[in-house]
């Protein structure tokens, strides 16, 4: 270790792709956002502590409440969990890093810049101020002209991109990079929880992306998805909550997995019923997608639907029952050590139980008719998200602090932290259950309501809880400098990360362990266990060579591009429209193109272990698996767009008849063009495989040319329709849905064509012809997918 070359601090942290460093970045950044969002909360709690208060104007109050929610859910809870996932998970499964380290770094920088954008929105007009749920039509440009919401939308889009990249990365890593013998069933619960969370993210976030995109388009281009009577409120309600409910499980499950691993360590016994716990998590994840209607109980969807959602929502509490009972049973005949981590873990279970029980109240549609929109709901979800998730994540912080820093924290200070947090938390939130008559998100209230005393009590609790966290930061900060060395395994735990030194060296494992049939770990070549792979010294420094500037540059480019799109001031008061800020847009686009080139030309190699546990995808290469996973997310994304089209169409009393709006011949031509381009794309792959340079060039040119033709016909159609005056974007839903859905598809075609150009350039340099045809294959997967989407769009828009 003494001959390591350590790069200068700034360069190291800005350009790192090492999972441990990216993990630390996530952890530290999420804690900063935690403090920011917490301060927002303390401010509005103070505002609410007495009736008729005017500490915060109603306008500011609404902004604080909204940004508090958005920051906590998107910029604190998940990133905090994924900080651990980044650092610890590869160690737990015996991998040296994630499958795509630069993509990982890029995820982080997208996350950071998106958070900057969200905070910036405060300074441009007003930050989003309609609750994190952003209901329509109050979010439309008519009721919220401020550009702060546009910037907020940009921030949300950026973080969804970050999350999608992470999902693909972790999925491929967990399926393809486990150490030999580390079967899925051998993994600790934390990696399982992350895996399940990733699946949920993959299926839920594209819906949110579609929703935010449509909201932005409504505001910037005057379309009508959410502001119309036919679309409007319920369209957003459905699309948002379809994502929103799985999302709240997404922010919970990693903490649950963490708790399920911490409790056994400090109980000195194996986890009770671990396979049932994992099975329950999977069941809960699946069911979480069919309960979202319980957020819409009073919207008038009809008694049949609401009864159905009552059943599914109450049913989802069953898996959680099993999980909690199993965790508690772990304590039977155990030797329970009450250190900081276990205190927080057990405390989290207790608070989660209260949160879960009160969730069942809200699942009952009859009770919800009284409790909807009241502080009962607020108390319920804070018991889960703070009591369950945050407390669980803090347990993780104490648990893994020695591993990450190599030093022990102060146990007594930590125990005081726990006591203050636990007591303060309950004083803060339990009174809110009793405020079940008080509406949410009201800036103040009159004294005659009688809500004053409980609010005051709640605020006191808030300050106790908030103040307690100072102890946490103090403890960790000081211990990191002066704490006593912890050694590799201070808890005498048994998961793989504890076999490494604290902190682990850059390359993690000197030799990747192998797990034998009887479950024992083997490090290094031993007779009879040839599975351990031995890596020579040449690898020990490779992570220090794993510095790359492109992740941060790319993220910055995206940041200023989206800022340019959303920062423009309104040009006219009515109808409100926004001027894009072209300098930023251009700079962002150019920088983005440069980074794409830099990224792809960089010599960055990921050492792939020869022997890994990779059921069930043994024969599928990493990148291909990643691309198919990404396409899965795209399916949901387009599915939601098409679904929105169906929704507004079926809710509209009239719709133009077939053939009246669009020339079927145009659509036919475009379909033929695209189908042919798929043919040329597959011909390109064939040419590459057989090494035919001319064939490859010809097919790539053909694909490109056909793409141009497609966009040309489409542009012609758009111009014709737009200039007819009758069918502009602002003229109702047929126009809106057509332009937006086909437009998004068109953007995908354009992206595909950029890829063709890139491939062509490389072909001219002689690549892809000597057995390295994979880029062509991957491009083909994407291109054929875009074709498939059009195969559905054609009949849906032109023929029905």
């Amino acid at each position: 270790m003494s001959d390591e070359i350590v790069p200068a601090r700034a360069r190291r942290w800005l350009f790192t792709t090492n999972h441990k460093e990216v993990g630390v970045l996530y952890l530290v950044t999420s804690l900063f956002f935690f403090i920011a969002a917490g301060l927002l909360a303390l401010t509005f709690r103070t505002q609410l502590s007495v009736p008729n208060n005017n500490l915060l104007s109603p306008d500011l109050y609404n902004q604080f409440v909204t940004v508090h929610g958005l920051l906590m859910i998107f910029w604190v809870l998940s990133p905090f969990a994924f900080g651990f996932a980044n650092y610890i998970l590869p160690l737990q499964i015996g991998a040296r890093d994630l499958a795509f380290p630069r993509l990982n770094a890029m995820s982080y920088w997208f996350y950071l810049f998106s958070g900057v954008a969200m905070i910036m929105s405060f300074f441009f007009g007003s930050a989003p101020d309609l609750g994190w749920t952003l209901y329509s039509p109050q979010t439309s440009v008519q009721y919220t002209p401020s550009i702060g919401l546009n910037i907020g939308a940009a921030a949300l889009i950026l973080i969804v991109v970050s999350i999608t990249m992470s999902s693909v990365n972790f999925l491929v890593t967990m399926f393809k990079m486990r150490a030999p013998g580390m079967k899925l069933r051998h993994m600790p619960v934390f990696p399982w929880a992350i895996l399940i969370t990733i699946f949920m993210m993959l299926y839920a976030f594209p819906s949110f992306l579609a929703a935010v995109l449509l909201l932005y388009v409504d505001r910037a281009f005057g379309t009508f998805y959410f502001s119309s009577i036919q679309g409007g409120a319920l369209l957003w309600d459905n699309v948002f909550w379809f994502f929103g409910h799985p999302e709240v499980y997404i922010v919970l499950f990693p903490a649950l997995g963490l708790i399920a691993d911490v409790i056994p360590t400090f109980a000195r016994r194996p986890l009770y019923g671990s396979k049932y716990i994992i099975g329950s998590m999977i069941a809960a994840a699946v069911i979480s997608f069919i309960v979202w209607g319980h957020h819409m109980f009073v919207t008038g969807i009809g008694v049949t639907s609401t009864k159905l959602y009552t059943v599914t929502t109450i049913a989802v509490s069953l898996p959680f029952d099993v999980m909690v009972i199993a965790m508690i049973e772990t304590l039977v005949k155990a030797r329970v050590k009450l250190k900081a981590a276990s205190l927080f873990a057990l405390g989290a279970v207790a608070l989660f139980v209260i949160g879960g029980i009160t969730g069942v109240y809200l699942a009952s549609v009859a009770l919800d008719h009284a409790l909807r929109g009241t502080y009962f709901v607020v108390a319920h979800f804070h018991y889960i998200m703070v009591g369950g998730s945050i407390m669980g994540l803090i347990a993780g912080l104490y648990y893994w602090f020695p591993k990450i820093t190599g030093r022990m924290y102060n146990e007594n200070l930590a125990r005081i932290h726990f006591g203050m947090s636990f007591v303060g938390f309950n004083i803060l939130y339990f009174p809110q259950f009793l405020l079940l008559d008080m509406p949410r998100r009201i800036a103040t209230y009159s004294a005659s309501t009688g809500w004053g005393p409980l609010n005051f009590l709640s605020t006191v609790g808030g300050f106790i809880f908030g103040g307690a966290q100072l102890l946490l930061f103090l403890n960790l900060f000081l211990s990191q400098r002066h704490g006593s060395p912890s050694g590799p395994n201070p808890w005498d735990a048994w998961t793989l990360e504890w076999s490494l030194p604290s902190p682990p060296p850059p390359h993690d494992f000197d030799t990747v362990p192998a797990i034998a049939e009887d479950g024992t770990y083997h490090f290094g070549n031993s007779p009879g266990y040839p599975n351990g792979s031995r890596i020579g010294n040449g690898y020990a420094h490779s992570h220090l060579e794993g510095l790359s500037p492109w992740p941060i540059v790319m993220a910055f480019a995206a940041f200023i591009f989206f800022l340019g799109l959303t920062i423009g001031q309104p040009t006219s008061p009515t109808p409100v429209s926004y001027k894009p800020f072209w300098p930023l847009i251009f700079d962002g686009a150019i920088l983005g193109v440069i980074s794409l080139f830099g990224y792809s030309r960089e010599r960055f190699s990921v050492h792939e272990e020869s022997r890994v546990e990779s059921w069930p995808f043994r024969e599928v290469p990493n990148v291909k698996l990643g691309i198919w996973t990404f396409l899965g997310a795209e399916v949901i994304f387009f599915g939601v767009l098409i679904g929105a089209y169906f929704f507004v169409r079926t809710n509209s009393p009239t719709w133009p008849a077939v053939g009246t709006l669009f020339t079927i011949r145009n659509g036919f031509a475009m379909t033929l063009i695209l189908l042919t381009s798929s043919l040329t794309a597959i011909m390109a792959l064939v040419s590459a495989k057989i090494g035919s340079r001319n064939g490859l060039i010809a097919s790539l040119l053909g694909t490109f040319g056909l793409g141009i033709a497609f966009l040309y016909v489409k542009a012609g159609e758009w111009i014709e329709l737009g200039s007819s005056g009758v069918f502009s974007v602002a003229n109702g839903l047929p126009a809106t849905s057509y332009f937006i859905t086909t437009g998004t598809h068109g953007v995908h075609v354009f992206a595909g064509m950029c890829m063709t150009v890139y491939l062509l350039v490389n072909t001219l340099k002689g690549r892809y012809l000597k057995g390295d045809y994979h880029a062509i294959e991957h491009f083909g997967l994407y291109w054929h997918f875009v074709d498939i989407v059009w195969v559905f769009l054609f009949p849906l828009f032109y023929l029905i």
């Binding site: 299926y203 009809g302 043994r618 599928v620 597959i682 498939i788 195969v791 009949p795 023929l799």
Partner: protein, 86 residues
């Protein structure tokens, strides 16, 4: 082989367009179903042959198929729910 698939795809599109011109003769519900069915068929062909799913390891095609099934179930569920209420 790819050309054969291409021919089927073009033919399918042709059928769709011709169907549109006689659309008034068929009940609307059936018309939409046939169109969507044809689209699904074309999509399946592209996926199986152009995206090579038919020849990929079972694990991958199962992965994609399961995902698609779940996605369509969710979409249909949303759609149904939107219509049961008034």
């Amino acid at each position: 082989m790819y050309l054969l698939v291409f021919a089927i795809l073009v033919g399918g599109t042709d059928i769709e367009v011709n169907l549109a011109s006689v659309q008034s003769a068929i009940p609307y519900g059936e018309y939409v179903s046939i169109l969507l069915g044809l689209a699904a068929l074309k999509a399946a062909l592209i996926a199986m042959f152009y995206q090579h799913l038919k020849y990929e390891p079972k694990s991958l095609s199962t992965w994609v198929l399961v995902g698609l099934v779940i996605a369509s179930l969710l979409m249909s569920l949303s759609f149904i729910q939107l219509h049961v209420g008034h």
